[in-house]
């Protein structure tokens, strides 16, 4: 049977306690919220912390509040609550959809929003047992200098795989981050960098305590996910598309964010600029789809094929935009 590595577990009573523990134990300690990502990684010996600091019950990470139109959610908000809470679903249906598309109901009842934001990047040479990795050869992300996906290169291409993150970015969400040197407010987008090894810009010991989402105003957002099964699976590509329309119907602004095609949640800047200033029409949508197709550069380190994932990126963005525009589904017969 696959066993967890042995570790000590402490669940401090408040955020300061957690920060102090992290400072004291340094790299030997790891934060755990729902544990649905971390515990699997420990079983596979991708992480071998001596101390696990439980933060899910921290009072500072709880709560739901509305302030001048901004919604603040504690980092410990469970994915199933984001999926089902009618208040959240009314304001940000795409966020609820994205949360509901994560894994399976059992996982969503323990997994948190903070954990999803801080989810480690994934790669099918990496998310494997220690024995398997030893057999194929360890990789740059753990225990070796070589990347198995692109052996000649000097970087890791592990894939940003969180479903709520592209939606949060498209919604212009921000986070409160608490660390040894104080509190800072960071846009969700700025939490990430294009580095599979160290995908988060958080400093060691920093904790995401809450997420703030601006009022939806006239933005409309959709999230679409491609996976091989209707449950369980991580995205092979996910697209969040937000548009804000002028009174005359033209697109004043667009935010299109892709997940699972790069090491960070990538803005589809080409598609965004194609859309800006244009009406949401068959033509602009097709052009945006083409731009996404060109920009999305998945590597061969997830399930599915590069061929298919690139095409799915285009189809997902087109379908989301058509839906927002109220255009009928394209007649498959002409496809």
């Amino acid at each position: 049977m696959l066993r967890l590595n042995r570790f000590s577990y402490v669940a401090p009573g408040d955020l300061d306690g957690a920060l102090a523990l992290m400072e004291k134990h340094g790299q030997d300690a790891m934060l755990m919220a729902g544990g649905t990502d971390l515990l699997v990684n420990i079983k596979q010996r991708l992480a071998t912390p001596a101390l696990v600091v439980g933060i899910r019950e921290l009072p500072e990470l709880q709560g739901y509040s509305l302030d001048r139109g901004w919604l603040t959610l504690g980092a410990s908000t469970r994915l199933c609550d984001i999926e089902h809470d009618p208040r959240i679903r009314m304001m940000y249906p795409a966020l609820s959809d994205a949360a509901g598309l994560i894994s399976a109901p059992q996982v969503r009842t323990v997994a948190t929003l903070g954990g999803n934001i801080c989810l480690d990047t994934r790669c099918n040479y990496y998310n494997q047992s220690q024995e398997w990795r030893r057999a194929i050869g360890f990789c740059m992300k753990k225990d070796s200098p070589i990347c198995r996906v692109a052996p000649g290169g000097d970087r890791c291409w592990a894939v940003a795989s969180a479903d709520t993150v592209p939606v949060l970015i498209s919604l212009r969400a921000e986070t409160t981050v608490v660390g040894p040197s104080g509190i800072r407010r960071v846009p969700v987008e700025s939490l990430y960098q294009d580095d599979g090894l160290v995908p988060l810009t958080l400093r060691f010991g920093e904790i995401v305590s809450s997420v703030h989402i601006p009022p939806p105003d006239t933005w409309t957002t959709e999230y679409a996910k491609f996976r091989l099964r209707q449950s369980f699976d991580f995205p092979l590509v996910g697209i969040a598309a937000s548009v804000r329309r002028d009174p005359d119907g033209n697109i004043a602004d667009a935010r299109v964010v892709m997940t699972a095609v790069a090491s960070y949640p990538e803005r589809a800047s080409g598609a965004e600029s194609v859309l800006r200033g244009k009406p949401l029409s068959e033509e602009s949508i097709t052009t945006a789809g083409h731009a996404v197709f060109r920009q999305a550069k998945p590597m061969d380190n997830t399930a599915g094929s590069i061929f298919h994932r690139k095409r799915m990126a285009r189809v997902l963005v087109e379908r989301s935009l058509r839906h927002i525009a109220g255009l009928p589904e394209r007649d498959a017969r002409t496809a």
Binding site: N124, S129, W132, I136, R229, F232, R311, A332
Partner: protein
């Protein structure tokens, strides 16, 4: 190549009359009577334990002082073992015992003709995951550390990872005895004059297909617990489908008299063929127990289960068929190449199975089959639900769909005109008894609205059909012996309790319930009065195991025979007591009564006491040996069965032409199972088969990268979730087989096979594209659609 030619029979439709060995006391006069247990939607025998989680699977067992075993597995697909140093592991505190291949050097293998495995690798490793050493330690953490402390020096060899590489004469030999490249076995069977058949044909069609490998994924991971007692007796509890074969292999590899070994199969959480032979952990655990003086549990991880494998072979197939203009086959030529993985396993049988049932369910007057199996550096392939017949069925049914299309026939009507007759022989000497396939085809045609839909649905939507056939138990045992295939003992106690002893292993298919139903019906008692002792080689007579869909037919007949002997004793005393002729007695609901005056009755328990007084302790045995059916040619042992089940499936699909994604709207399936002993359980088996067929058709693939299984986990090896599962409409067809217990045949495996080609054929109906390899993944469909679009564009 060895040529094994058989003599053709005069006519494939020659009818036969009496079954060669009519079964005593199994007269068909009772088949029309009202049953009190059989055919009712009864609860499963073990419903409470299974529903509440009380059932104790092997990994749930705990013995006093028990410790944990673990296997060190090879990280190389192909390598010579130069040196193993276990001294550091052995010296660790908490480590009780360490073993390597040299400690258990006796070769074994499930088939007498391929004894090519050892409990742990000896001089070479042949796939990633092959066991190399074993440790027993106080807990699993220590066992893991001890495994990490074992030093193995390997000399890596060139791995052979595909059929083509294995056929290449320059490829590295996996087993040094293979004559040509890495070919394990060639078989050739020929029945009738093929040239004549092709000459007679109006059209000849030729196609190639590939069936991807896939694996069983039972819910319960394999586990074994062994206790070697100081008295020299050893007990092994294991999640096995075949306690008897494990018993034999243990005796061989441990070099112990079988009389000292007891194998117990606790409830097994699914097998599907993946637990039907001995595995390293089962052979190693007893030795670890002997050395440590403690019971040892080895519980495999999911990843290790992928390495045990023995699942569906990847098969490359070529088919050439001569047909008359109405579709009737004049000759069938079929070739298969199986990617066997690193060892023999059941593979020679699998190879024959890719040819054996191709003469059914359509009339094939001349038939040639050439099969070969190659070794590759992957976990060994073996039997998975539908053993070796699923791959050729995909090929044949897709091929026939094309033929029907090109000849301008409705694929269903064309098939209906070609079916074998009940009670006939095939050209390769298969004896067919009951056959409800015409009724099955009609049922799915009717229920699916086939006639309105086929060829008439809009682009992107389609419907497809396929038929299949499967065995109700192999006619021959795995090792040659003249003894029964199944035995049962029944004891009746003074209170009316009935205990049935039978060596069957219930792997979730409900063989325990089957025994209870059959005996309860025969004796006329309540199911609640039946007690079962199964899956135990010391307490129960041999049953060969839960494979080849044999248990209901064989153990059911054995149990029924034992019960009918007891019934005769009880009727004798009841007749005297009630003063009624024995022939006028019936038994039901715990009473033995006069059929003509049902008020004249005697309770079963009272009859049991009278019988015990009259005859002494009440106990009887029953056994079942299949009739001798094998034809007069080498290789004829694979294919014969006392009865065949028949299935027809229709699938309706919706193909998203922009994404290639298939959604299966609904699957209609009708299965001829002889008689449903419990319709709920049968429906469950049929739905389970459809689920697995769906998975193999659309999503499952056991693929390798750089010598390794690419995705040995439940997250990345894709089997469908309940949300993916299409609607299934199930029809049970009862053809009442003359030799099956109460007329029953098989239901556990057959319904899987037609689902795959039915989906492939539906995809064609929807898109005009034939995908000739499984799985029919969205990626593949989309590539084909794009290719066609490009060709069209180029043509314009």
């Amino acid at each position: 190549m060895s040529s094994e030619k058989g003599t053709p029979l005069q006519s494939e439709t020659s009818t036969f009359h009496a079954p060669s060995e009519p079964l005593a006391a199994h007269s068909s006069e009772r088949t029309t009577q009202n049953f009190s247990v059989i055919g009712k939607r009864n609860l499963k025998y073990d419903w409470h334990a299974k529903l509440t989680g009380a059932a104790k699977y092997t990994d749930d067992l705990r013995l006093p002082r028990m410790i944990y075993g673990r296997l060190l597995r090879s990280p190389h697909p192909h390598a010579r073992i130069l040196r193993i140093d276990v001294s550091r592991a052995r010296a660790m505190s908490g480590v009780f015992a360490v073993l390597t291949g040299k400690d258990l050097p006796i070769r074994y293998g499930i088939l007498p003709s391929s004894q090519d495995e050892t409990a742990m690798a000896l001089e070479k490793v042949r796939y990633v995951g092959e066991a190399v050493a074993a440790v027993a330690a106080v807990d699993e953490w220590t066992a893991e550390e001890a495994c990490n402390a074992i030093e193995v020096v390997y000399e890596p060899l060139q791995p052979v990872m595909s059929i083509d590489e294995a056929l290449d004469p320059d490829s590295e030999k996996i087993h040094d005895w293979t004559k040509h490249a890495n070919i394990q076995k060639n078989v050739l069977l020929e029945f009738g004059d093929l040239d004549e058949g092709f000459a007679e044909a109006d059209r000849v069609f030729e196609d190639e297909y590939f069936f991807e490998g896939n694996t069983h994924v039972p819910m319960e991971n394999h586990a074994a617990l062994a206790n070697w007692e100081p008295t020299g007796k050893v007990t092994v509890w294991s999640s096995t489908q075949t306690p008897h074969y494990l018993h034999r292999e243990l005796a061989r590899v441990l070099d112990l008299p079988p009389s000292r070994i007891r194998v117990i199969a606790p409830p097994v959480g699914g097998g599907f063929g993946g637990k039907s032979e001995a595995f390293s952990h089962e052979l190693v655990a007893p030795v670890l127990s002997r050395l440590s003086g403690r019971p040892v549990l080895i519980s495999l991880s999911r990843e290790e289960v992928f390495y045990c494998h023995r699942g569906r072979h990847p098969v490359r197939m070529w088919i050439r068929t001569g047909v008359k203009s109405d579709g009737t086959i004049t000759a069938l030529d079929f070739k298969s190449t199986l990617d066997g993985g690193a060892y023999g396993s059941y593979g020679i049988a699998t190879t024959y199975y890719t040819g054996a049932l191709n003469t059914l369910p359509y009339r094939v007057p001349r038939y040639r089959f050439e099969g070969r199996r190659v070794f590759t550096n992957k976990p060994p392939c073996g039997p998975k639900r539908g053993h070796g017949t699923v791959q050729p069925r995909f090929a044949i049914e897709a091929h026939l769909d094309r033929i029907a299309g090109e000849l301008g026939h409705d694929p269903a009507e064309m098939r209906k005109g070609m079916l074998v007759s009940p009670f006939s022989w095939t050209v390769n000497h298969l004896r067919v008894t009951s056959c409800g396939l015409p009724e099955a085809i009609d049922a799915v045609l009717e229920r699916s609205g086939w006639r309105e839909k086929h060829g008439h649905l809009p682009q992107g939507k389609g419907i497809g059909l396929a038929c299949s056939v499967y065995l109700s138990g192999a006619g021959l045992p795995i090792y040659w012996n003249p003894m029964p295939h199944s035995g049962a003992q029944i004891k009746i106690d003074r209170g009316g309790g009935v205990t049935v002893y039978c060596g069957t292993s219930d792997i979730g298919q409900d063989s325990d319930s089957m025994l209870a139903y059959v005996v309860a019906e025969e004796l006329g008692v309540d199911i609640g009065d039946i007690h079962l002792v199964t899956g135990d080689t010391s307490l129960a007579p041999v049953d060969l195991g839960s494979y080849s869909s044999r248990v209901t037919f064989m153990a059911g007949n054995a149990a029924r025979q034992a019960a009918s002997k007891l019934r005769a004793q009880l009727f004798q005393v009841a007749a005297a007591r009630l003063d009624v002729p024995e022939a006028r007695l019936g038994a039901a609901g715990g009473m033995i009564y006069d059929l003509e005056d049902t008020e004249r009755q005697i309770p079963f328990a009272q009859a049991a006491q009278l019988a015990e007084a009259e005859f002494g302790t009440l106990g009887e045995t029953g056994s079942y040996t299949p009739p001798k059916l094998a034809g007069p040619y080498k290789g004829s042992g694979v294919g014969p069965s006392p009865a065949y089940s028949f299935t027809c499936a229709v699938a309706e699909v919706d193909v998203d032409l922009e994404t290639g994604i298939l959604s299966i709207q609904k699957i209609w399936v009708a299965h001829d199972l002889g008689r449903a002993l419990n319709p709920v359980v049968c429906e469950g088996q049929i739905e389970g088969g459809v689920y697995m067929g769906w998975a193999e058709a659309v999503i499952e693939e056991q693929v390798f990268r750089k010598g390794l299984h690419k995705q040995p986990s439940l997250l990345e090896y894709k089997i469908p979730t309940s949300l993916d599962m299409p609607d299934v409409d199930t029809t049970i067809i009862e053809s009442i087989d003359p030799e099956g217990p109460f007329g029953a045949k098989e239901v556990g495996q057959g319904p899987l096979a037609p689902v795959i080609p039915a989906i492939a054929n539906a995809v064609y109906d929807a898109t005009g594209i034939r995908i000739d390899s499984t799985p029919i993944m969205a990626d593949k469909v989309l590539r084909a659609i794009e290719m066609r679009r490009k060709q069209h564009a180029a043509a314009v």
